[in-house]
């Protein structure tokens, strides 16, 4: 010991007395803490806001294709075009050929189909703008969901009512986990997976529970399920 004396002169730093600058720190602390709290709230609010999660994102597409017309009014099944959805990770966009299967005969000279015909003629692809875009480190598999009774509508919304497709759901990790923790509200018989307007005749929760038990659906919440 003996590093300090009563008059405080001998020791350059007294460990039992706050240094002078701490007065300033005490004064500055409340506004700083306040600012930090505001910042934290702002960050979390922003992170969860629809703007960040891109809900409602509706970019212009090269072709004025209307899902409302094709999937809604004409009632074409989702899988006619997105035919890999049950077997693959991706619900692939259809090749131009698929469009032309019909449009060789229907509205074959429509101006709206110029880009499609051009692609068909040249073999160059149509460059669609991606709407539902998960981060690169999240691995989603369409087939795993569609073949277990999760309907298209659960993630994509009422596509059959959209002229131009937009992102209907948050597609955030918390949103994914909501369903993985409790899939019952979203399970449906396989034949209704692509029926966007379908409403169960019985209570959805009763149906969901039954299907979950019948198909032994046990969605994983492990990190490794989606991230690798």
């Amino acid at each position: 010991m003996g590093c300090f004396s009563a008059d405080g002169i001998a020791a350059p730093v007294n460990p039992f007395v706050f240094p002078k600058w701490s007065n300033l720190a005490v004064k500055a602390a409340p506004p700083l803490l306040g600012a930090a709290a505001t910042y934290a709230v702002a960050v979390f609010a922003l992170a969860a806001s629809p703007q960040t999660t891109d809900v409602g994102y509706q970019p212009d597409q090269p072709v004025p294709y209307s899902h409302r017309l094709h999937a809604g009014e004409l009632g074409i099944d989702c899988r006619y075009c997105h035919n890999t959805v049950e077997i693959a990770t991706h619900a692939a966009l259809p090749p131009t050929q698929t469009c032309m299967n019909c449009h060789k005969h229907i509205r074959a000279s429509s101006e709206k189909l110029l880009v499609v015909r051009e692609s068909y003629g040249t073999g160059m692809p149509i460059e669609w703008v991606r709407i539902h875009d998960l981060p690169g480190y999240a691995y989603f598999n369409h087939s795993a969901h569609v073949r277990r009774g999760v309907g298209c509508v659960s993630c994509h919304g009422r596509i059959d009512k959209m002229d131009v497709v937009y992102q209907a759901e948050k597609l955030s990790m918390g949103w994914c986990l909501d369903c993985h923790r409790n899939p019952d509200p979203r399970l449906r018989p396989l034949e209704y997976v692509t029926k966007l307007a379908w409403i169960p005749e019985e209570d959805q929760l009763v149906l969901g529970k039954r299907l979950r038990e019948e198909w032994r659906i046990n969605p994983s919440e492990d990190c490794s399920t989606c991230h690798r």
Partner: protein, 1021 residues
Amino acid sequence: MPPMSGDNPNKTYWRSLDDLAETPEARALIEQEFPGGAWDRLDRASRRQFLKVMGASLALAGMAGCRWPKEQIVPYAYRPEGRTPGQPQRYATAMDLDGVATGLLVTSYDGRPIKIEGNPNHPFSLGAAGPIHQASILDLYDPDRSRTVVRREAGQEIKQGWDPFDAFANELFSELRKQNGKGLAVLSEAISSPSLVEMRQRLAKTMPEAKWYEYEPVSWDNEREGTKLAFGAAYRPHYRFDKAEIILCLDADPFMTHPAALRYARDFANGRRAHSGKMNRLYAVESVFSVTGAMADHRLRLRSDHVQALAIDLEIDLTRRGAMGLRSVQNARKEAAPNDARKPVSNFVNALAEDLVRTNGKSLVLAGQRQPASVHERVHQINAALKNIGRTVTYSTDGQADRPSHMSMITALAEDIRRGAITTLVILGGNPVFDAPADVGLADALKQVKTSIHLSLYDDETSVACSWHVPRAHYLESWSDARAYDGTLTIVQPLIQPLYGGRTPVEMLSTVLDARREKAYDVVRRTLARIKPSKDPERAWRQTLHEGLVEGTRWPTQNPRVHPPKQKTLVPSTQPGESARHNSPEEIVFTQDHSVYDGRFANNGWLQEWPDPMTKLTWDNTATLSPATAQALGVATGDKINLTLSGRSLAMPVYVMPGLADGSVAVALGYGRTRCGRVGDGVGFDAYQLRTTKTPGFAIGAKIERLAQPGKYPLASTQDQHPITPVGQESKRRRLGKLILEADLSEYKANPDLFQHAAHHPPLESLWTEHKYGPHRWAMAIDLSACIGCGACALACQAENNVPVVGKQQVANGRVMHWIRVDRYFAGDTDSPRVVHQPVTCMHCENAPCEQVCPVAATVHDHEGLNVMVYNRCVGTRYCSNNCPFKVRRFNFFNYRTGMTDTQKMLMNPEVTVRSRGVMEKCSFCVQRILAVKVQARNDRRPIRDGEIVPACAQTCPTQAIVFGDLADEKSQVAKLQKDKRAYRMLAELNIKPRTAYLARLRNPNPELPGRDAEKNHGHS
């Protein structure tokens, strides 16, 4: 300086001489897991070098901002039938190396080939692929590959398009055709392609005066020449390791460097698992420490130039036993006074001969690629005398029975040029200016050739010496065909259009033959139709492409009769026993490199950074010496020496390697390239400068001087890194649980439970609540008896999991990123140690120490027992790695992906996240493969079949030493293996419950020979 002899009594197993001697360097590596800070001291020049190796073109990333970039989806206009976008597809193709094809399956994502695996249907792959096969995909995307035709004239270098070249070539070759090919010569690599062979024959017909040469710097040509001596004609020998009980390898490495190595290793390992209480027995006599030597039950280190003498000794012994009745022993050997120094050798030969005679017809003797034809001749005669021919050795026709040896052809070419007989030289692949023997003087001779055209992947050493360089298409961009080792016709089909233009040898030769320039595709189809005519050619073609090979096209088996041996003197020129003690370093052994092969893969970062299976060196070749030789010379690892051989000299760093023959200096070929690209230029030392046509395998009479130089040459070896130490150096001595368990077959049979009591520990109580598991419990079993330590697993993992290359400096800093490493342990004395290889990767411990210390839960357990890394959570504290007892975690000290070119990005596996700076990573048990199968199985509403999920390491393992599966399925192979009597878990006493079990290594020594003596107490101390 480590002690040169004598065991450290505290150490049964040691990783290196430094480790054995417990030098401060080795201790520092244990105390500080992340050594160095050397990066921070890097000067600007080294930093530049580092970035270059990273493939940096320093392209600035776009200012993406905080919003996600707008992404496009570009579907096909016309989707090919059967193609599912985003789903991997696999195509059968083949890689032709040294004129032998290995069948491969290549995984392609949306048209980008990303991973090479073996083709299970192919007789010389059996699903496995060696390190070189797998890494060759990196060459495909190499930004240093040449992209344009280059014309060199009067010191000028003109980059040209294809049209001027075609115009020039058409004129040149049509003129030559008129003159019957006078003055035209073609120099090719070893070819097995029936299409090329047919074109060569057509060339001989249409241009009878044209000449054809073939040259491979590294090959098993001596084996072939040996058959000419023994049988009077060239045959191809096939060894049946699956049928052999006693195997003798004379300076041979059939499991690593032989063209049929994958098959041989599989057959051999199947005889090592001791399921039925039987094992084969391997004797190895060799100068360098080879992968095969490391598997041997008895290994005799002997200079390469004394192997012939040993073979003669063996012949004499066999003759005495009446097994070789063709000659009479009438020489001085009988009278040779028993000599103490000779005793180990004569005992060895004696016991060996007895074993060979005992297993008449079930033994196998083979000699290596370095040994001269005369040794191979003797080997064929010995096999004939032991009645092995037709049983463990069979012979088939050789594809090109009339071909002279490579060495004679390259010599003839240089002579013909000097005579002025050659005015136009077409070089189809290869790099002869770099790799031709020094006495040929090819570089000088080439100057005399008026027009020389070099077809090559790179604008390399040979290209600059030629008047034209023509870019070659990578084999994954080419249509071709080739023959497997047994002659099976194998199709090489392209996975992608040539990225940088580029032509194949078939197309190039077609230019020579006629102006039409036939498409390689048409040529290959025609060849198939010729060899295997079919009523439905389209169907046959599709079937062949699917299979990758044509069944029933093997070369016929032959029964050649051994020429009666001439009455040669049976007195060995040198007495092998004495030479074993002989310390004067006078023999240089030229070895085929496991990474760069003959030098052609020098610009391949994966291979450069892949540790040599035996020395564990990366990014270099060295003059490798035995401890005694090094001591006699007064040099240690890192000192530079000057090797002089008939007037040619080369300065190289020394690497001291236990187990080498005294007096041998092993030097790997293929390093010291000057024009291969940014990765390989200036890496290592060019041993071709010392190699001559007379002594391509080994050369005696070398002079060796120590070079005075300040400091040491830095070598980046991974052998001391990531040491596993349970409880620090002090208590290690008291409590070391054995990491490696091994025993002799006889001990194991007498006491099958001996491995179950290896580790002594109090009852294990867990501090933690045990995890609960779902329906699957993934686990692994690694059989140390089968693992030959080839390291193919490390490369498979690198390709599958987007593991980065970090460069020599970073490897030296202990920052190598491989997720699976093969630990090499020595045991016994430093002169002639045994070796045990142990692949180590994340064990996915049930009580994982890493998980317990992560402050941000970035490494967590999942319900199937995987210890998963969540990169986005990781903040880079590295606590996990500190706490990992197996040292299998790897930290991204830098963003090793800086400045990757767009072509290089095509190689990335889209199923695995590419990690950035500051995060920890490690083996995931190939979680992406587990999930792919799991999703598929559940989609089909069926259980996962055992063996359906195969991680990359297990998939490629040539010996199937790694088995993966579900412990919850009691019938699974892995569950059975984990219950095997040989199974043990590393560091079981820590109660971490690793999911990986090792199966103890068994050896099958001859009881007549001294084997392991010091450490027979397997933990029962």
